[in-house]
């Protein structure tokens, strides 16, 4: 006999799986809408038949060449950033942690800005030079944070303080470049820092896909360790978790996912902070379900925001970073205050 408690637990898990399925379905629907809408109207029927190889040539070009990479990029970037934020909040036991609080994003911003000031942005391979430089500096920042935190035994407080210090350092360095840079460089830097998905192509999508499909499964595999870390270092250690290593691995993998995304998209704020919270409120803190669900909600948020961003003032585009905040913040605040009794204690 499994007992009543056991049956309730099965239902409890089933609800989580159901919620994940609903999110997945919603994402598929939203993606179909996203490839159909835009400056050129192709309609959902035309768009979907183009996806499966049918339709006229014009529709194919619009849907497959122009919209599909961007939609895929939004999905992957949203998923990667949301998963990173979830893991960072968990291993640092801090609801404010995100890829941004740890300096990874501002370091990527500096790397991109440096490449632009040095003239890479207008070269033919420029976009990859900018991205590579952003990635390198993001990785450098992670290692700096771990190195500094390790001096103090890799506690969560140590990591957060080191991360914030690194963040301010790289923002200051970026400001130096903006202050000294040529006008068109500064414009490019500001545009990059706002974050946007307009430069997405299949090459970039492939790179992001590779980075994410390495890092996310490795994170999900470690769900129990991540769960244990949220209980406190001592408790986790006594449950058999190598706390220092689990924290480091969690941070390295989530930084990798973050860097892999933002080196192409620019600093898309907020998805990494808010999606985990929204998802945690809906599905609970068990990382086995929380990480996949966060990926889906992050993808939904970013894809939704980007679709609005490129259509609402068409043909002008609003940078998606701005739109994510404008869409996400009211929703987040609503959930936070509606559920406050159960949430922050």
């Amino acid at each position: 006999m499994a007992g009543v408690v056991g049956e309730v637990y099965s239902k409890f898990l089933l609800r989580k799986v159901a919620l994940i399925s609903v999110l997945l379905l919603a994402l598929i629907v939203l993606a179909s809408v996203a490839v159909s809408v835009g400056a050129a109207s192709v309609g959902m029927k035309g768009a979907i038949s183009a996806l499966f190889g049918g339709g006229d040539r014009f529709t194919k070009v619009i849907v497959l060449r122009m919209r599909l990479p961007r939609v895929l990029m939004a999905i992957l970037a949203g998923a990667g950033l949301a998963a990173s934020g979830t893991v960072m909040q968990g291993v640092l036991r801090n609801p404010l942690a995100s890829p941004f609080t740890l300096g990874v994003a501002s370091a990527a911003g500096f790397g991109a800005a440096l490449a632009m000031v040095l003239g890479a942005s207008f070269a033919s391979w420029g976009k990859y030079v900018v991205a590579t430089n952003a990635f390198m500096f993001a990785t450098l920042a992670s290692f700096l944070v771990y190195g500094l935190a390790k001096l103090r035994g890799a506690t969560s407080e140590g990591m957060i303080l080191a991360g914030i210090a690194i963040m301010y350092m790289f923002s200051a360095l970026t400001s130096v470049l903006e202050y000294m840079g040529k006008k068109e460089d500064v414009h490019a830097i500001v545009f990059w820092l706002m974050g946007n998905l307009s430069g997405a192509d299949f090459g970039k999508v492939l790179v992001v896909l590779i980075v994410i499909s390495i890092s996310l499964p490795l994170l999900i595999m470690r769900s129990w360790d991540l769960n244990a870390l949220t209980l406190g270092d001592e408790a986790a250690e006594s449950l058999g978790v190598n706390v220092e290593r689990a924290r480091m691995v969690g941070m390295v993998l989530s930084s990798l996912a973050t860097s892999g995304v933002i080196c192409f998209t620019g600093t898309i704020g907020f998805v990494g902070l808010v999606s985990p919270h929204i998802t945690r409120m809906a599905i609970g803190g068990d990382n086995r379900f929380l990480i996949p669900a966060s990926c889906l909600s992050g993808a939904l948020l970013l894809l939704g925001a980007d679709t609005i961003a490129r259509t609402v003032l068409a043909p002008t585009e609003v940078p998606v970073g701005i739109m994510t905040s404008l869409v996400g913040i009211p929703f987040f605040l609503y959930l936070l205050f509606r559920k406050r009794r159960e949430y922050w204690r």
């Binding site: 309730v8 769960n227 408790a235 945690r280």
Partner: protein, 253 residues
């Protein structure tokens, strides 16, 4: 002999916290660790659990050196109840206790794990609160949940760091009665750090009194808690005056 601590010493950044501590805990036995703040009570428990690695000395469980055991095996042998548990994010009681199965699960919690959690909750009379949020419980209930988590590890050794320090009188008695009963029933070996000397004396089979990281006195509670020892270790004069000695909790009260 279940747990044997042999000559362990530990220091935090060169400041000695434990010096040459040796003691033994038998099966079905509760050993209370008393001593002023900073005397090394928590450090001792953490060294035994392997959260801290003693500089010298060994901890043996059934003759096996814990420093040579795999982490997971150690976690199946010893359950630890930390001083304070909050949980950063909302978590349900069932999930909290299920975390005690961490040393057994790979990814999916099996029927066996769920059953183990159910048994522990039943044993402690807590099935009715399985789906409540841990953060919404009272201090005493939370402490019981954390003890349940430790029991879900199916340990042979239970280590408790000041299990009653934030609880009201009734909850203190309930928790200590529970620990005593669990230790007897399951033949565990338990060690608990305590501040309340009366409770420590009442619920421990043996007491270890620490001063500045060293054992000052050890043995039966009555022989350890003498006026002279308390004056010497705590710098407090005591006398045996008539006092309220809780003997149990009235059901329905």
């Amino acid at each position: 002999m279940k747990v044997a601590v042999r000559g362990i010493s530990f220091e935090y950044d060169g400041i000695p916290a434990l010096r040459n501590v040796s003691l033994e805990v038998g099966e079905g036995e509760v050993v209370g660790v008393v001593g002023p703040n900073g005397s090394g009570k928590s450090t001792l428990l953490r060294c035994i659990d392997g959260i801290l690695r003693p500089r010298v000395g060994v901890v043996l469980v059934d003759g096996e050196e814990t420093s040579k055991m795999r982490r997971m095996d150690l976690a199946r042998t010893m359950g630890y109840v930390p001083q304070e548990s909050s949980g950063t994010f909302p978590i349900r009681v069932f999930e909290m206790v299920l975390m005690g199965r961490r040393p057994y699960v790979n990814w999916k919690a099996t029927r066996k794990d769920v059953d183990a959690v159910r048994r522990v909750l039943e044993l402690m009379g807590m099935e009715h609160m399985a789906w409540r949020y841990f953060q919404e419980l009272s201090g005493g209930e939370r402490q019981k949940v954390i003890i349940a988590r430790a029991l879900a590890q199916e340990p042979k050794v239970l280590l408790l760091d000041e299990p009653t320090s934030n609880l009201d009188l009734r909850a203190q008695i309930e928790v200590l009665e529970l620990i005593k009963e669990l230790v007897r029933k399951n033949e565990l070996s338990a060690m608990m750090a305590m501040h309340d000397l009366n409770l420590a004396a009442r619920y421990s089979d043996k007491l270890v009194m620490l001063r500045e990281g060293q054992i000052f006195a050890a043995g039966r509670p009555a022989s350890v808690l003498t006026r002279e020892n308390v004056r010497e270790v705590y710098g407090v004069d005591v006398e045996a005056i008539p006092q309220l000695v809780p003997v149990g909790v009235r059901s329905g009260a």
